[in-house]
Symmetry: C2
Subunit: 342 residues, 2 copies
């Protein structure tokens, strides 16, 4: 029996979700990979804990929910020392996305990678801003960096493109990478609502934030597109390199005009001939990208298969944990096949 | 440099397609896996050839197209002796599907597996009729059996469900597994065509066969569904266990009634609570399964990710070759990681 010892960095919705999933899936880890995943460390903004024997994931969630703190110890000094010097195999990085300077997540990830530990992350900031530094560091220290959860929640586009489609040449990518915008556009079309009303509805049911600009101005889509560009096409771009038009103020007239032509308007993120763009586009009804609701969807154009389309839930606690789990499982699979250190 | 030596069984469209792709992708094999794929053997109904040094794939295609025969030697006696006793690593089985008794493909595959060679196939017959015999034989002789091309052409549902979603529990599967039926239903709705006219149109542009029953009566969908049931849910079913209703004689009234409810009719194949069924169903417009055209699409309901949807071209020479290629690449990847014999 091998153990995979993990530290969970950040303990918001995503951190709690993956702690619960690690607890739930122990049978699967043992049965399929003869392994056990132990949460040996955890920290949030004010507290931390470490135990070589393993912390109880359910107890961590319980403590966070009742006291607001995941750990029993107060954080003092630089938490990077903890990441650097503790004993563990994989850092699961789930702190909030910061698209200004990618910190503190970037530092956490580098601390793990530079000491040869693998990193699994849901955090768009470091990948959309400093991708190459991370991948080069991972390579240099023979560590792995996996980030399925950073693009499109449970939609497994990273592993699809990098593993299953390894034999294909991928020419272009286009998709819907933001569920909130898609929900608004879908409601405008289906119910003939004006933009403001569809947005309010999305806010009321918790799909859009009080400040919706990150979603409706295409920033979130652009971050994810930058990650796809770096990951699939080996580019060196940041979110700032994406030409970006959001859906703010989309008119009922535009939606009606599309309807007359048997089309819908969708906020499409695309990479084609090194052109990186997020913008509203007309899509024929019945086309895979005419999808409604809050789903995320990506279409990859390849040399042999033609268009391959993948769709899944773009957000949510369980859904994001699912993507992190798929990365942990890939590490276990490789360890099982190769007998390789994480 | 390792070599993967392959024999191609059958040299119709699919066999020719994979021969061309093997030729095209040598750089990729060498660069990513330090391997070379050599076609050492080939046969069709009347001829065969073998060369340890490798046969030229382009020459094979050329000979087949000009003479109707892939090989220079006449087939005599039982070709299973050839499969049994030649030296090679992987049998690529591309002979036509026979859903009566799965032969001769079943025998070819068993001959390869029982001598420890891995099999990659596009052939639905053996998998829809005698799945367990094949998988148990593969296991017994430490060979691999891969069959991405047998379900949905270039749509990578097998590798998605068995590899990327390995950490998930899959509860149910539903999808559109036949492009011809979907084209007909889509045209009936979009243009208000009667069934017969939409079918004739499909026949004229080469999407439907002269005898369309295999497609429109749901037989093709049922074969693929049986393979998914065996593969994803570890069932022991054959195509005969699928409750099957096709779309023959679908009325314009039914299509119009669905339209009034903002729905479309699709031929849905589904596995849920061990219930296996192919039947026309109403699907809301904007739902992933409301997809038009000849695409194949599958939705997997999982415990954590919720619904994951994958779509791709369901047929075609390059597209089927693409699925076979993904299986060859998976074998190479494993060999590279593990240093394991094919």
């Amino acid at each position: 029996m091998t153990n995979m010892d993990v530290i969970i960095a950040g303990f918001g919705t995503v951190g709690q979700g993956i702690a619960e999933v690690i607890h739930q899936k122990q049978d699967l880890f043992q049965k399929n990979f003869s392994q056990k995943v132990k949460v040996v460390g955890v920290f949030d903004t004010s507290s931390y804990d470490y135990s070589k024997e393993g912390l109880d994931p359910n107890q961590l969630v319980q403590r966070k929910l009742t006291t607001g703190r995941v750990g029993t110890k107060n954080r003092e000094g630089d938490i990077n020392d903890f990441i650097w010097s503790s004993s563990y195999d994989v850092l699961i990085e789930t702190t909030p996305t910061n698209i200004q300077d990618a910190e503190p997540a970037f530092g956490y990830m580098m601390s793990a990678l530079m000491t040869g530990r693998s990193v699994v992350t849901s955090n768009k900031g470091p990948l959309a801003l400093r991708f190459k530094e991370l991948t080069r560091t991972a390579e240099k220290y023979h560590a792995q960096l996996r980030y399925e959860a950073s693009v499109g929640g449970a939609m497994p586009v990273i592993n699809l493109s990098k593993e299953i489609l390894k034999g294909e040449r991928i020419y272009s990518v286009r998709g819907i990478l933001n569920g909130t915008s898609n929900f608004i556009l879908h409601r405008m079309r289906e119910e003939g609502l004006p933009f403001d009303q569809a947005l309010r509805e999305a806010q009321e049911i918790g799909i859009a934030e009080a400040d919706p600009s990150y979603d409706i101005d295409g920033v979130d889509s652009a971050c994810k597109l930058a990650i796809l560009a770096n990951s699939i096409f080996d580019m060196e771009v940041t979110v700032k390199d994406i030409a970006r038009t959001g859906i703010r103020g989309m008119t009922e007239e535009a939606v009606a005009l599309a309807a007359e032509q048997k089309k819908v308007i969708r906020l499409i993120a695309s990479i084609s001939d090194s052109k990186l763009e997020v913008a509203p586009r007309m899509v024929p009804v019945g086309h895979p990208l005419s999808i409604g609701g809050t789903l995320n969807i990506v279409q990859l154009l390849t040399d042999l298969a033609g268009d391959i389309t993948i769709a899944g839930r773009g957000a949510g606690k369980k859904e994001t944990a699912s993507a992190i789990l798929s990365d942990l499982v890939a590490l276990m699979q490789e360890q099982k096949t190769k007998g390789f250190r994480y």
